[in-house]
C-alpha cells in the first residue's frame, strides 16, 4: 500500500461551457501522479491548463466547468464527492498557495484571524490560547519578524513577499500531505522570489508534504523539483526527471522554451531563438499536434493526428514520456536541438550603422524627492521620499544601458524625469548636448522627437480605440505631417518591426501581446529618435514571445544606431542586451560598469545578491550554486537610513567585524572605481562573497 502514489490524476479533462460561444477545452485528458513527499513541477505558458488542472484537484472550479476522468487521493476518487466532504479534506490534507497574495487574503480580517480560521475549521476543540500559540509558531516558521505583533495586522499592512509567507503559513497550518503552489512567486521581485522558494522548501521539510509547483519559469523549477511535467494547449507534452527535461528535452516545445528564454548562463553571447506564433485557441483546436504550427521540426504527419504521450527510453528509473512523433530521432541523436532551433544571425557588419560614439544622454546628479506630509487639519512636511537621490550616468550612440533593481528602487521615477524634458528638481539632463532645463515649449516639442518610450504592458500602452495606423502615426500628426506622408511612414515602420503593413487598418485587440509590443516600438520609431527608453519592454509578454522582441530590439540598435535606456528587473534579459549596467538601490546607483564585467565579477554585495537570486534553468548548475540571500524587504523609502542605506540587508555587513561595520553605519559610500566598475561599497576589495554559476567562462552546452 505504501507504494501507491499520494495523488493520481487519470485522464482528466476540463471543459468550460460558454454561453453563445464554443466550448473551451482547457484540459484535455492528462494523467500524472504525485508520490508521497515528492516535489513535482508543472510548467507551461498562460492558457496551457496548468492552473485549471490543479483547481480541479481542489474541487474549486466554477460550475461552468465540466470535469471528466478521475482524480484519486490515497486511492479514493475525489470527483464524486460533494463540497461538504471535500471541505474536510481541503486545508487539512491538501492545501493550496495562490499566485496573487494581495487579493488572496480577505482584506477585513487580521492575518492571525485568518490563520486561526484554518486551524479551527479542522480542529473545533482548539482553544483560543492554543490557536494563538500555533499562529505565532507558524509565522515564525515562515520567517515573519515580530510574529506576535504582525498576527494582529491586516493583509494590506504586509508587503507582497510577506503576504505570500502568510499564505504558506496558512497552507501548512494543519500539516497537509500535499501542497499545491500555483505560480507562488510570479508577482514578486527576484530577491523575494528566492526567499519564498526557500520558505516553500522549508515548509516541505517541516510537514513532509508532497509539493506541486505550478510555474511558467523553467529556472524556478530547476533548483527545486524532482520531476517536471510540461503542459501545452491543455495536454502534457513531456514529463521526466528535472535533469532529463531540462538538459536533454525530447519535445520541440520544451526545447523552444529553453532556447527562447533569456538565461544568465548563455545571455550576451548567443542570440535568443524566437518561437514564432502563439498557442492555439482552446475553443477551436486543429486536428494535429497543437504545437505543429509553431514547430520548426514539424513534418506532414504532425498535422494529421495528435501524438499521444508515450514512454521512451525504456521502463526503468530513467523512463520518461514525450508526446512527439519524432521523439525517437531526438533520443537517438539524429536530430538535435541545434538543428531545430538554430541561433539566428545578427545584423551583418556591412548593414550595421556606423557611429562616432557621441554622448546621447547625460544625466548628472539627478534628484527627485517627494515631500512627505503629515497632519490632518494643517499639513506639514515632515520629511521626503528620496525616489531618485543623485544619480549620474551617460549613454553613447548605439549603446544600451541596462538599469536594474527591485521594484521601488527608483527606476521608474528616473525615466519619467528624463521623459518630462523639464528642469529636474536638482541635477541636470542633457539630450544630444542640449540641457533640457533651457528648452522653451517649441524646442521641447522638437526634442521630444529624439527620445521616445516603449512601455511595459502592450495592452495599456496603445489606445485600444484607435487603428494601428492612427496609433503609429500619432507622433507625426503632432508634428503636422500630411496624410500621405504618414501613411507611407506607417507602412515602412510596420515592415521594420516585422508586421504586415497591410494590417495598418486593424485595431489593437486583433493582435497578440508580442505584436502589440511591436506596434509600440513602431510608434516610438516614427520620429526617428536617437534614444529609446524601454521600460520593462518584455516582462509582460509570455516567455516564448520575449525572444522575438528582444532580437528585434537588438537588430534595430545595430542597423539604426539607436541608443537604449533599458529598464528591467529581469537580469537575464538585461544581460542579453545591455552593454553597460547600472544597478539601483533606494534611489542610488550602487554599481555601474561594462555588462560583462558586472555580471561576471559583481562587486557590490547587492549586485551579488541580485545575481544569485536569478534562477538558471539547469539543475546541475542550480544545485551547486552558492547563494547570497538578502534578508527581508526593501525598506520603506520614507525611512532615513544613516550611512550606507543597504547595511540593514547587506550580507557582507553581517560578516564584517564591529570596526568595519561602524564605517558602514557612519559613512555613506560614494561610487568609486574598483576593478573597472564603479562601486558604492567601502569594502568592495575585501568582499569574500562570490557568486558562482554565472561565470562567463563556462562553455555553453547544447
Amino acid at each position: 500500500m505504501t507504494e501507491s502514489p499520494l495523488l493520481e490524476v487519470d485522464n482528466l479533462s476540463v471543459e468550460f461551457l460558454q454561453r453563445g460561444a464554443a466550448t473551451v477545452n482547457a484540459v484535455r485528458g492528462i494523467s500524472y501522479h504525485v508520490n508521497r513527499g515528492e516535489f513535482l513541477g508543472i510548467v507551461g505558458e498562460s492558457g496551457s491548463g496548468k492552473s485549471v488542472s490543479s483547481m480541479a484537484v481542489m474541487g474549486l472550479l466554477p460550475s461552468t466547468a465540466r470535469v471528466t476522468g478521475d482524480i484519486r487521493y490515497r486511492g479514493e476518487s475525489l470527483l464524486e464527492r460533494d463540497d461538504k466532504t471535500l471541505s474536510k479534506l481541503r486545508g487539512k490534507e491538501i492545501s493550496m498557495v495562490f499566485q496573487d497574495p494581495l487579493s488572496a487574503l480577505t482584506p477585513v480580517y487580521t492575518v492571525g484571524n485568518q490563520i486561526t480560521e484554518a486551524l479551527k475549521l479542522h480542529d473545533s476543540g482548539l482553544s483560543d490560547k492554543a490557536a494563538d500559540a500555533r499562529v505565532i509558531e507558524l509565522l515564525t516558521t515562515v520567517g515573519i519578524p515580530a510574529p506576535e505583533r504582525r498576527a494582529k495586522a491586516f493583509p494590506h499592512e504586509f508587503s507582497g513577499g510577506m503576504r505570500q509567507r502568510v499564505m504558506i503559513a496558512m497552507a501548512i497550518a494543519n500539516d497537509p500531505d500535499l501542497i499545491i503552489a500555483d505560480e507562488p512567486t510570479t508577482a514578486l521581485d527576484v530577491t523575494i522570489q528566492a526567499q519564498i522558494l526557500e520558505v516553500l522548501q522549508k515548509a516541505k521539510e517541516v510537514t513532509g508534504a508532497a509539493v506541486v509547483l505550478i510555474t511558467h519559469d523553467l529556472g524556478v523549477v530547476a533548483g527545486n523539483v524532482d520531476r517536471v511535467a510540461v503542459m501545452y494547449a491543455g495536454r502534457l507534452v513531456e514529463t521526466g526527471t528535472v535533469e532529463q527535461v531540462l538538459t536533454a528535452p525530447r519535445m520541440p516545445y520544451t526545447m523552444g522554451l529553453l532556447r527562447s528564454v533569456p538565461n544568465m548562463q548563455t545571455a550576451g553571447r548567443s542570440r535568443l531563438v524566437p518561437m514564432e506564433g502563439r498557442p492555439p485557441s482552446l475553443a477551436a483546436l486543429p486536428p494535429g499536434c497543437p504545437f505543429e504550427p509553431r514547430c520548426p521540426a514539424s513534418i506532414d504527419a504532425c498535422s494529421t493526428a495528435e501524438p499521444p504521450l508515450v514512454q521512451i527510453g525504456g521502463t526503468g528509473p530513467g523512463s520518461r514520456e514525450v508526446a512527439c512523433i519524432r521523439a525517437d530521432e531526438f533520443e537517438r541523436g539524429t536530430l538535435g536541438i541545434a538543428d531545430v532551433f538554430p541561433h539566428p544571425e545578427p545584423v551583418p557588419p556591412e548593414e550595421q550603422a556606423q557611429v562616432k560614439g557621441a554622448t546621447v544622454l547625460q544625466v548628472t546628479d539627478l534628484k527627485r524627492h517627494f515631500p512627505l506630509t503629515k497632519g490632518v487639519v494643517f499639513r506639514k512636511t515632515i520629511g521626503s521620499v528620496k525616489a531618485v537621490d543623485g544619480i549620474t550616468f551617460d549613454i553613447e550612440e548605439k549603446q544600451v544601458l541596462g538599469l536594474v533593481g527591485e521594484s521601488g528602487c527608483g527606476k521608474s521615477t528616473t525615466i519619467l524625469e528624463i521623459l518630462e524634458l523639464a528642469r529636474p528638481q536638482s541635477g541636470s539632463i542633457e539630450l544630444n548636448g542640449v540641457d533640457v532645463a533651457s528648452l522653451n515649449s517649441s524646442a521641447r516639442l522638437k526634442l521630444r522627437g529624439d527620445v521616445q518610450v516603449v512601455f511595459q504592458d502592450p495592452m495599456a500602452a496603445i489606445d485600444p480605440r484607435l487603428s494601428i495606423e492612427d496609433i503609429v502615426s500619432e507622433p507625426l500628426t503632432v508634428r503636422g505631417a500630411s496624410r500621405s506622408e504618414r501613411s507611407a511612414k506607417v507602412r515602412e515602420l510596420l515592415e521594420t518591426v516585422g508586421l504586415d503593413p497591410a494590417m495598418s487598418g486593424r485595431y489593437p485587440h486583433q493582435f497578440s501581446g508580442g505584436q502589440r509590443q511591436r506596434i509600440g516600438i513602431a510608434r516610438a520609431l516614427a520620429t526617428d529618435p536617437k534614444l529609446l527608453i524601454l521600460d520593462e519592454p518584455v516582462s509582460a509578454l509570455d516567455v516564448s514571445i520575449q525572444a522575438g522582441v528582444i532580437n528585434l530590439l537588438q537588430d534595430l540598435k545595430d542597423s539604426r544606431g539607436l541608443s537604449y535606456l533599458f529598464v528591467a528587473h529581469d537580469l537575464a534579459v538585461v544581460r542579453q542586451i545591455a552593454d553597460v549596467v547600472a544597478v539601483m538601490y533606494l534611489g542610488r546607483i550602487v554599481e555601474l560598469g561594462e555588462a560583462d564585467n558586472v555580471f561576471s565579477h559583481p562587486q557590490h554585495p547587492y549586485t551579488q545578491a541580485l545575481l544569485s537570486a536569478v534562477p538558471i534553468p539547469d539543475p546541475r548548475v542550480e544545485r551547486t550554486r552558492q547563494r547570497v540571500l538578502l534578508d527581508g524587504d526593501l525598506p520603506s523609502p520614507t525611512q532615513e537610513i544613516p550611512g550606507c542605506n543597504f547595511h540593514g540587508r547587506c550580507p557582507l555587513f553581517k560578516i564584517l567585524d564591529a570596526a568595519h561595520q561602524e564605517r558602514c553605519i557612519q559613512t555613506d559610500p560614494s561610487l568609486r572605481s574598483v576593478h573597472n566598475s564603479s562601486v558604492a561599497c567601502h569594502f568592495a576589495e575585501e568582499n569574500p562573497l562570490r557568486v558562482t554559476g554565472v561565470d562567463i567562462t563556462e562553455k555553453e552546452k547544447s
Binding site: L60, S87, A118
Partner: protein, 326 residues
C-alpha cells in the same frame, strides 16, 4: 482617524452653511414676498407692506446681499432663522415639524436598508435562479414607480381593503386621529397612520439597496479570497457569508450617503401625499407662499440631514474597512 473624521465633518459643516446661504440668495431673488399682500382685499398700503416685509427681513428694496448678511449673522450668532409669514419662528416650527418627519424617515430608511441588503445578498448567492429574477424584476418595477404614485397606489389598495372588511382598519390621512386617548390607543393609532407611508418609503429604498448590494456581492463572490477560504476548508456557502458579505458591505456605506438625498426627497413627497404636517409640507408650501425664511429653513433641514448621513457613512466606512483606518 477621529481627527480625519473631524476634518471631514468640519468640511461638511462649511459646505452646509455655504449651500444654505446660497439658497437664501436664490430664494430672495426668485421669491416675491410682496405678492402675498397684493392680492388681499382690501389691499394694504405700500408702506404697510414694506414695514411688514422689513420686520421679516425680506423687503425687496433692501439689497439682497445686505439681507443675506443680516440673515447669516442672525443664524450664526443667534441660531435664529427669522419668522414665517404668519409670524411663527422658523426654528421653533422646524423643531416641531422635523419631529414628525423624522419618524417616517428613520423607520422607513432603516427598514428599507435592512430589507434591501438581505435581498441583495440572497439574490447574488442565488444568481439567475427564479427567485433572483423575481426580486430583480420587482425591484426594477418599484424603482420605476415614483414614490408619490406608490403612495397613492397604496391608498387605493387600503381603501379597497377597508371596504372589504367593512371598517376603517387602515387609516392614512394625517399623522394621527384627533381625539384619540389612552396610551395603547394612541400608539396603535400612530402606528396605523405610519403604516402606508413607511411601506412606500421602505419599498423604494429596499429596491435600490438590493440592486446595489447584489452587484457588490457579485463582485466579491468572484474574489480570490473566497477561493482561499474554500481552500482552507470552508464549504462554499459558509465562505460566501463569512468572507463575502462582510466585504460587500463596505461599498454600501458610500451608497448610503448618496441614496439618502433621494430618500429625503421621497419622504417629503410622502408627507405631502399623506397630509402630514412635517417639514415636507413646509418646504413645498413655503415656495408657494413666497416665504423666503421658511424656504431657507427647510433647505437647511435637508442640508443638515445630508450632513449627518455623510458623516455617518464616513464613520461606517472606517468601521467596516481596515484599509482606510490610519
Amino acid at each position: 482617524m477621529s481627527l480625519f473624521l473631524l476634518r471631514r465633518f468640519v468640511n461638511y459643516v462649511i459646505l452646509t452653511l455655504v449651500a444654505t446661504t446660497f439658497s437664501y440668495i436664490l430664494a430672495s431673488i426668485f421669491e416675491n414676498p410682496a405678492a402675498r399682500y397684493l392680492g388681499k382685499n382690501p389691499r394694504p398700503s405700500n408702506e404697510t407692506i414694506a414695514r411688514t416685509l422689513d420686520r421679516y427681513g425680506t423687503n425687496p428694496n433692501t439689497p439682497v446681499l445686505e439681507r443675506t448678511w443680516h440673515w447669516f449673522t442672525q443664524l450664526v450668532f443667534h441660531g435664529n432663522l427669522g419668522q414665517e409669514y404668519d409670524g411663527t419662528s422658523v426654528v421653533h416650527d422646524m423643531i416641531v415639524r422635523s419631529g414628525v418627519s423624522l419618524q417616517l424617515l428613520l423607520i422607513g430608511s432603516i427598514l428599507g436598508a435592512l430589507l434591501g441588503v438581505a435581498l441583495g445578498v440572497w439574490g447574488a448567492v442565488r444568481q439567475y435562479k427564479a427567485s433572483d429574477q423575481t426580486v430583480t424584476y420587482l425591484s426594477y418595477l418599484i424603482l420605476s414607480i415614483p414614490v408619490y404614485v406608490l403612495g397613492v397606489l397604496l391608498m387605493i389598495v387600503a381603501t379597497k381593503f377597508n371596504d372589504v372588511i367593512g371598517t376603517n382598519a387602515i387609516v392614512f390621512t394625517g399623522q394621527y386621529t384627533p381625539g384619540t386617548s389612552g396610551f395603547w390607543s394612541i400608539l396603535l393609532d400612530r402606528l396605523s397612520h405610519l403604516l402606508l407611508p413607511t411601506i412606500a418609503l421602505m419599498l423604494t429604498s429596499a429596491a435600490s439597496y438590493s440592486r446595489y448590494q447584489r452587484n457588490a456581492m457579485l463582485d466579491v463572490l468572484s474574489a480570490d479570497y473566497i477561493r482561499t477560504a474554500r481552500s482552507k476548508g470552508r464549504p462554499r456557502n459558509a465562505a460566501m457569508i463569512r468572507h463575502g458579505v462582510r466585504v460587500a458591505l463596505i461599498p454600501m456605506s458610500t451608497f448610503f450617503a448618496y441614496s439618502f438625498g433621494l430618500l429625503v426627497a421621497g419622504s417629503i413627497f410622502l408627507e405631502k401625499i399623506f397630509t402630514w404636517h412635517g417639514m415636507g409640507e413646509l418646504a413645498l408650501n413655503s415656495v408657494n407662499q413666497n416665504d423666503i425664511n421658511a424656504t431657507t429653513g427647510s433647505i437647511l433641514y435637508v442640508a443638515i440631514l445630508i450632513l449627518i448621513s455623510s458623516t455617518l457613512s464616513q464613520i461606517l466606512y472606517a468601521a467596516l474597512d481596515p484599509r482606510v483606518r490610519i
